[in-house]
Symmetry: none
C-alpha cells in the first residue's frame, strides 16, 4: 500500500485540535566563531519548558544533504513527499503566490522582466536598468488597461519589485510547458515562446500574441520598452489535506508566499497582520472554526538570511512570549518546528535537520531539557523526514484509527 | 523523483575538495570478555580531536542486520544503493579485480579451480590437492601459451592463490549468464557450461571449447589435470560518480580489490605503495588534481578477520598519526569511517553500524567526545544508511544546489 493511502484510510474526524507552529529557517549550526546556536543562546523559557513536557527530535525536509526551497520544505511539513513530481511548484506560480495572487486550477503563471531593446529589437538590458518599483507599478497598470484578454484568455498582471512582474493567463486548456523567452544574454533578440509539447502549443500562441501587444504598448518607454517571460507554470494538482487527513486546516501567515503554498494543499487562509502578536491573535479568534492550525513565523528565516544571529534570537524570544497564550487555548496537540534550517553563519537555507517537538496528553516525554538542536537530538524521535510529522500529530490527536485487527 | 536523479540534478562543480578516509572493517563490538572496542582502547588523539570538531553518527552499509561483502559495502559509501540489481558484482569479476586485472566493458570473468579427474573423467579432488601457488603460476603460463583465443574471443588467464585462477573472455556479444561447471561434489564429471538464456548461448559455446582445450593441455599433469569454472560475470554497468555527482574522484588503495571496485564507479586509480604512509604521501602529491579523494586502509579489516584486537589497534594508531598531515592539506570536507564492521571477537565482517564523522566549516559539531562506537552513537547524525554520506559530503562542500524555490 502507498503510505499516503494508508494514512488516508486510517484518518478519522474528531473534535481534537492540532497546532503546527512553524518558525521559518528555525535550525542553526555551531561554528568555531559561534559555538552556540541561536536557540541555545536565546532566552526562551516557555519553549524550553514545553520541550521538557514533549517528545523531541529533528526533522529532515528532503534528505540528509538536501537544502530545500520554501515550497518543498512546507509541503513536507504538511505531510506530502516533497520530491513527488506532482507537487513541484514552478517559478511563475511561486512568484504569483508570493504577490498574493489568487490562482485557480488551470491558470498559467509566468515571471516577467521589463527589459530594454534597441531600434533593431536587440536586448541591451535584461532588467530595464532596474527601474524603481513605482515605475513598475505604473507600467503594469498601463499594460493591464491595454491588454485585458488575448483571444478568449484573461490576462492578469501584477507588479513585483523593481523590474519584476507576474502575468497570469486564465482560460481553458492552457498548458504551462513553455520555454523561457529570456535568452539570458544581451545583444540578441528575445526568444519566442516555444511549446515543449503538443498540449502547450495553444499557450505558446497566446504568450507570443501577448508579447507582441506588450511591446507595442511599451514602444515609447525609455528603458522598459520590452518584456521577457520565464518560469511558465501551473498550480500543482494534489489532493487537499482535508481529503488526505480528514481535517479542516487553516493557515495563519503574514507573508504571501506561505499563504500561497498553504492554499495549494487546500488550507483556508485567514487574513492577519504583519506582527507575531497579530498571528497569535488571529489564532485565538478563529479557535472554534478549525481543527488544524498552521501558524507561520517568517522573520527567523529573514534574520538567518541576513547573517544576523541577534535578530534571529530576538524573534525566537518574541515567539516564546506567546507560548503561554497558545497553551491557554488547550490544543490537543502542539508541534513546534521549522520548515528548514537557515544558519546565520551560512546566510542561506541549509540541509541541517530542524529541531522538532510534539506535545499532547499521550506524547510521552523524553530527556530533552530544552528546545534547541542539541537537546532535540537527544530526544526519542531521533532524526526523521518532516513528512511524517502529520501522521504523528494525527495519532497524538486521536485522529488515526488502528491499522489491521 | 528517484532519489539519485534528485542528487544528480542538484550537483554542481566547485573548487572545493572532499576526502573520504575509509578504514576497512573499522567498527567493533563490546563483549563480556572485551568490554571495550578497539577504537575505545586505542590511543587515537588526532581522530578524537577531529570527532569533537565534527558531526558524528553511525552508518549502515545495507540494512540493520545485513553483513556486507566488500563490494556492496564500498558501493554504499560511494553513494550507490548496494541492493540495486544493476550494481551486483559477480564472483568472477570480484576475483579478477582482486588480482588487479583491468576489465573492460563486455568482458566475462570467471573464477576457476584446478581439479583432479580420474581416467573415466570423474572428479576426485575439486581443488587438485591444493597445489602450491608456484605450481598454479606454472600451469597458468602453460595454459596462456597454448590457448590465446577461442574463435574470435581473446582469453586472458591469471593465477591466484594455490589452486585458484581467473579466466577473462574478451570479445563481442558475450553474456555472463552461464551456470557453474563445478558440481560441488566428487565422483561425478564436471558439468558443461550451460547458458541461462538465449543471449548467453555463444558464451557457453566458447566456455565449453575452452574447457575442452584446457583439459587437453593439462592431460599429463599429476594433480591439476582438469579445471572447474564458476561465477561467470560481467562488470556492472552503472553511471560513474562523475556523472552522478559532478566530481572528479580518485582512489588511493594499496589492495587490488578496492582499486577494482573504485574503477567500477569510474574513479581514477592512483599507483601507491603498500604502507599507510605511502597512501597519505600519494594523497599529498595528487592534491591539486582531483576534488574527491577515496583513501582505503586495508589492515584494520585483516586484523579483525584474524581476531587480533591489538593488531587492529596498532593500525588505528598508525592512521591516527597521519591525521595532522591530512588536515594540513585543508580539505573542505573530511569524512572518516569504515565500509563495515569487522569485530575481532567475530573474526568476520558484521552488520554493526560503523562509526562515522564529517568535518567542514559548516558541519556543525555535536557532543560526541571521541571517535568510537559509543561516542559516534551520541552524535547528531544518528544511525543512517551509508549511501547518504555522499550527499552529505556534497552539501558540506557547497556542491549541492537548493531544491525547489
Amino acid at each position: 500500500m502507498v503510505h499516503s493511502d494508508l494514512i488516508k484510510m486510517l484518518s478519522q474526524k474528531t473534535d481534537s485540535k492540532i497546532v503546527l507552529l512553524v518558525m521559518d529557517g528555525l535550525g542553526g549550526i555551531r561554528t568555531n566563531e559561534r559555538p552556540k546556536t541561536e536557540l541555545e543562546l536565546a532566552n526562551i523559557p516557555n519553549l524550553n519548558r514545553l520541550a521538557k513536557e514533549s517528545l523531541c527530535g529533528r526533522i529532515m525536509p528532503v534528505s540528509y544533504g538536501v537544502t530545500p526551497g520554501s515550497g518543498p520544505a512546507h509541503f513536507s511539513l504538511f505531510g506530502y513527499d516533497p520530491t513527488d513530481d506532482q507537487i513541484q511548484i514552478g517559478r511563475g506560480v511561486l512568484e504569483a503566490l508570493g504577490l498574493d495572487m489568487k490562482l485557480q486550477a488551470g491558470d498559467v503563471a509566468t515571471r516577467c522582466n521589463f527589459a530594454t531593446i534597441d531600434e533593431k529589437g536587440l536586448l541591451t538590458d535584461r532588467r530595464a536598468g532596474r527601474i524603481p518599483t513605482e515605475e513598475c507599478v505604473r507600467l503594469c497598470e498601463l499594460l493591464s488597461n491595454k491588454i485585458k484578454k488575448i483571444d478568449d484568455v484573461k490576462v492578469i498582471i501584477r507588479p513585483g519589485e523593481q523590474y519584476r512582474f507576474v502575468v497570469v493567463f486564465r482560460g481553458k486548456k492552457l498548458d504551462g510547458r513553455i520555454k523561457d523567452t529570456d535568452p539570458q544574454v544581451t545583444g540578441v533578440k528575445a526568444l519566442q515562446a516555444v511549446a515543449n509539447n503538443a498540449a502547450s502549443k495553444r499557450m505558446a500562441l497566446i504568450a507570443n500574441k501577448f508579447i507582441h501587444k506588450a511591446n507595442q504598448v511599451l514602444k515609447g518607454e525609455l528603458k522598459a520598452n520590452s518584456i521577457l517571460m520565464r518560469g511558465f507554470s501551473v498550480l500543482p494538482n494534489v489532493p487537499s489535506m482535508s481529503e488526505r487527513f480528514n481535517i479542516s486546516p487553516v493557515c495563519i501567515a503574514s507573508y504571501p508566499l506561505y499563504r500561497g503554498v498553504a492554499s495549494v494543499v487546500g488550507m483556508d487562509v485567514l487574513h492577519t497582520g504583519m506582527e507575531i502578536s497579530d498571528e497569535f491573535q488571529t489564532l485565538k479568534e478563529n479557535w472554534s472554526k478549525y481543527d488544524f492550525f498552521f501558524i507561520h513565523i517568517k522573520k527567523t528565516d529573514s534574520y538567518g538570511e541576513d547573517g544576523n544571529p541577534e535578530g534571529k534570537m530576538k524573534i525566537l524570544e518574541e515567539v516564546d512570549r506567546h507560548i503561554p497564550m497558545l497553551r491557554e487555548l488547550h490544543p490537543d496537540v502542539i508541534m513546534v518546528t521549522g520548515d528548514h534550517s537557515t544558519p546565520p553563519p551560512m546566510k542561506s537555507h541549509s540541509w541541517h535537520p530542524v529541531p522538532f517537538m510534539i506535545n499532547s496528553a499521550v506524547c510521552s516525554f523524553d530527556d530533552a531539557q530544552g528546545f534547541n538542536e542539541t537537546e532535540c537530538s537527544k530526544g526519542q524521535l531521533g532524526n526523521f523526514p518532516s513528512f511524517y510529522i502529520m501522521e504523528l500529530a494525527l495519532a497524538n490527536a486521536g485522529k488515526l484509527k488502528k491499522f489491521g485487527a
